[in-house]
Symmetry: C2
Subunit: 201 residues, 2 copies
């Protein structure tokens, strides 16, 4: 196996997942937006996005969540996407919630603001500003949800929902969008996940 990797949020998601699984996958580091726009890379991923996992038989899996799903099935321990039906559904619920409530507004803000994406999307500054503006209230929502004092987003155990949250923290760090100070429970969670070795993956 090898992982086509870049210094960006979606590859980071997979790198954290791999670190939490305690496995090792060789990487091919590419520069997103330039080295992905070649004809050769188009054959690997027609969307010219990273990350991409190439299996030993040459088969390809793109999309960070899909790569995690493959790795979860190949390397079940420790489980990061749930064991029984309810856990699987519950962790997927929290993954979707973190994605829609927090990752998407960060992602939209970034895509509609930084020069890297100006040839990829029609950047709309008013939309970027509106998406940035909702982020504090989304943290307040998560903080309220975590006010039962549970250590991780989906409950007692670390899961891929926390990894989605870690990618949000990383983007928030780059773009000056910290967890609001008033969000005590969310900040305690943030400190907890930042202390994991996988934070630096």
């Amino acid at each position: 196996m090898k992982l086509y990797n870049a210094n960006a949020g979606n590859p980071k998601r997979v790198r954290i997942f791999i670190s939490e699984k305690g496995i090792d996958i060789p990487r091919v580091d590419l520069e997103a937006g330039t080295e992905t726009r070649t004809e050769d890379f188009h054959k690997i991923n027609s969307l010219q996005e990273l990350p991409v996992l190439e299996l030993d038989d040459g088969r390809i899996i793109t999309e960070s969540v899909a790569i995690c799903r493959y790795l979860e099935a190949q390397f079940p321990e420790p489980p990061l996407m749930g064991r029984d039906a309810f856990e699987q559904g519950h962790i997927e619920m929290w993954s979707q919630r973190i994605f829609h409530q927090l990752f998407l507004p960060h992602g939209h803000y970034v895509r509609h603001t930084i020069p890297l994406f100006k040839d990829v999307v029609t950047q709309v500054p008013e939309f970027a500003a509106a998406e940035r503006a909702v982020i504090p209230q989304r943290w307040e929502w998560l903080n309220e949800e975590m006010s039962d004092g549970r250590p991780f987003i989906a409950g007692d155990d670390f899961s891929i929902a926390d990894i989605h949250g870690m990618v949000v923290l990383m983007l928030g760090g780059f773009f000056d969008l910290p967890v609001p100070v008033s969000c005590t429970f969310a900040n305690q969670w943030s400190e907890r996940v930042r202390a994991r070795p996988s934070w630096d993956a």
Copy 2:
């Protein structure tokens, strides 16, 4: 079990999934945007969104994809999310691709255009127009990807990736965003999924 349901895209995704599984789950039909904004419903889903699955023991799963994931584990036949590791990863890849390339621009267009969402998001007409404008080229991309003549989005078998596509077709039908006529393979796929009993779920 019961499914809190509405006449909208995300509940439709779950209704198609249930139909394809050949199971029957009682429904509680609510009007999105009004009957979901009560204090009682806030206790069921703090995001006040539909669909929601309530289990017999009272536990709750929100988010359409999470409900499908729970049902897939509880009712494995026919498999709609893949059997072995590669199939699971491959179907997740196509689900993510359809979600990001096609569902999101439709969803963004709708959320930034129709009155139902005017209190939910800061509607930005320029963003709505830009998102609407990319849709034909996204169909062209999918059409090129399906030019190997495979019957379904992820290969020989119907999967949840097709269900994501069916929800896109449904939204496209409501908002006058048809599959471009030039997209022969995508149109053949569209006819194929529209002929399934689950289309009317």
